[in-house]
Structure formats: C-alpha cells, structure tokens
Symmetry: C2
Subunit: 173 residues, 2 copies
DNA sequence: ACTGGTATTGATACTCAATACCGGGATTAT
DNA sequence: ATAATCCCGGTATTGAGTATCAATACCAGT
C-alpha cells in the first residue's frame, strides 16, 4: 500500500498538483481495501479518520485516482458507479449474479489479448477493455434452474432481490 | 419489423399482459431503428406518432422489452442508459472512443464462446455477456497519438468533449 | 517572518435520469 | 350492465453526480 500511495504522490507531482493530506488520506483508504465501493461508501470510510472531509473532495480525488490509472471505474450497476483499485492486481473482469447480486472476479489470458486484436483490425486503438458476464453464480444456479421450467419465453421473475455483501469497514484483501 | 413486434405480442400474451396500442406503438418505434437510444429519446420519437404517450409508459414498456430479451440495456455511459434492439442482429459488442464519444460495434466468434466457457469453469452459469472497449477510433487515433508525447504519466487532457451523433428521427438500419 | 497569488476544500444548491405514487380511464369477465 | 383488473399518464420524489463559490491552506519570493 505504501507502494500505491507512492505512485499516486508521483502522479500528483508530475501534474503539478499539491500533495495534500486530504488527498493522501483518501488514496490510502482506497488502497487499504480490495473491495468494490461507491463514492459515498468511500466518503464514509474516509470520514472515520477525518470527519471533516467533504463529499466533493472524495469525488474529485477519486477522479484523479482514475486518471492516474491506479483506480478503475466499473459501470456494473445502473444508477451508481463502482470503483476498485487495480494496482498490484492481475487484470480481471466481472461476473454478476442476477439472483443474489454478488460480483465475482475472473481472469483469462486469451480474453486479455483478443479484444485488443479485434479492435486493431477495425482501426481502433484500444486503451482498455472490460468484460461483464451476467448469469447465476455457483450457489444460485441450481435454484435458478429449478425455477425455469422449459425454455420458451420463461425469462421472468428473476433479478429483483439484491444481496447485501458487506458494508462496514474496508478490509484487507 | 413485423416479425419483431409479433414476438413482443407473443411475449405479452404469454405473460397475461394486455396487448395495447400504446405498447405496440412503443415496440414498433424501437424496432424501427437500429440506433442506440435513451428512454427519453424514445419517448420523443413515440410522441411524434401519438403525442399523448407518457414518459412513464415508455419506461415501463422498455422494461418489458428488456425482459422479453428483444431489447438490450447497455451501460456504456455514466448517468444514462442506452438501449438497442437486438433481434435479427448478430450479437455484437461496443468500442467507445474516448475523444469523440462515438460508439462502434464489432463482433467476433471467439469472443462469443470464450467468456461463457471461462464462466462455466468457475461454476457460473452465464446468460449473457458484454464487452466494452475504450480507446480511440480510426479518426481520432492519430490526433490522440500526436498529443500523447512519450508514454509516462501522460494520460491527461483526453476524454472531455463528447460528439453529438445524430438526434432527429429514428432511421432504418 | 510577511505578503500576494494560486490551489484546494467543503457547504450548499442544482441537474437530471429514474422511480414511486395515485387517481382516472379502458378492457375483460361475470 | 357491473365489478374487478389492468393500464396509463401526470406529478412528486429520490438520489447520484456536478457546479458554484467563499473560506482556507499552501507556496514562492521578498
């Protein structure tokens, strides 16, 4: 984590931005967890250390972290963005369970190179890519299959309840 | 298009929902274009035929169209969802230009099967997947490369202006 | 140290997509 | 016809994200 904050410091300096305590504290908080989080969750965590930190500053610093490419923005849900810190991680993608809402990560060699190749064939220079798989996780698959009888137009009644997956403090890996 | 609206009608009947003129008119409008659209854009198009149609109904019918799997919801942008009708199309994915905002489609055989396989290996039953590639389109690549000098921390100043890509009537393919 | 200028911060107000609610109207079954 | 639903559309509400702006913190040069 020392390492990640160091990178962020370097990024700020290179951009001629000030390395303030508030910014570093937000960055530390981000790097102290490997969970996905919303801006407001992050704000809450930060405020446990320094209750005076404003929501705006969290949003702004999060923007800087994304620009520095130390943090990635995930558009997995509808009305809300999730973020995750990506330094020191293997690049990965996400599977979202339609029933319990759990988000699971996975990575695969071929899935890293292929999209870029395909893009290049079309004259498109890829800088990043994201793969999102919807379906049913291990635990929910049997249940979901039980409900779905044959397979005609029966794609109903799923995807409503959302599981609550952790919400307290940020946790180490 | 006759075909697609027929499928929607069947879906409604199977669900015990009424096949109302309003719903069919919204569906027709959706199937009359292959563009991406926001719910409000759709509402505007629909109101050109029947100015009394309410925004709420458009949202609701759009929800039904998604459930029937005739229309897909894309979470490409932040604050706003895009939709596109997918029946009779080859399944495809999207490349989003960071400079001009243009959205380009592509498809690839391997990219269809691979994600599902990988998911299955993890005990996850995939029902759908989406691949999103960010980068620079053919037109913007040279410009972007020109701006980006070497390649250290220089990932700045990009991704701000958004191109306006069509806005009038829905158009045939 | 002091001063002037700039960047940063955080409270408040605002925007806008999406949702909830509710009363009136249409459609079907009895 | 009448009752019971379902459907529709207007309005109000929610909530994430953004803009504004005055106050504050920081820095460089004197």
């Amino acid at each position: 984590m020392q390492y990640e904050t160091g990178l962020f410091r370097k990024f700020l300096e290179k951009r001629g931005l000030r390395v303030t305590q508030t910014r570093m504290q937000i960055a530390e908080t981000v790097f102290s967890t490997h969970k996905h989080f919303t801006p407001d969750e992050l704000a809450e965590w930060v405020r446990k250390k320094d209750s005076s930190t404003g929501r705006m500053t969290v949003y702004r610093t999060l923007g800087l972290l994304v620009e520095s490419e130390l943090v990635e923005e995930l558009t997995l849900r509808k009305g809300q963005n999730l973020y995750e810190h990506v330094v020191g991680h293997k690049h990965h993608h996400h599977m979202i369970c339609l029933r319990c809402g759990r988000i699971q990560e996975f990575s695969n060699e071929a899935l890293e190179s292929l999209p870029r190749q395909v893009a290049r064939q079309k004259g498109f220079t890829a800088t990043s890519h994201a793969i999102k798989i919807h379906g049913f996780c291990k635990a929910c698959s049997p249940i979901a299959n039980g409900h779905r009888g044959g397979g005609e137009g029966e794609t109903v009644g799923v995807a409503s309840s959302r599981a609550q997956v952790g919400s307290g403090e940020p946790s180490e890996t």
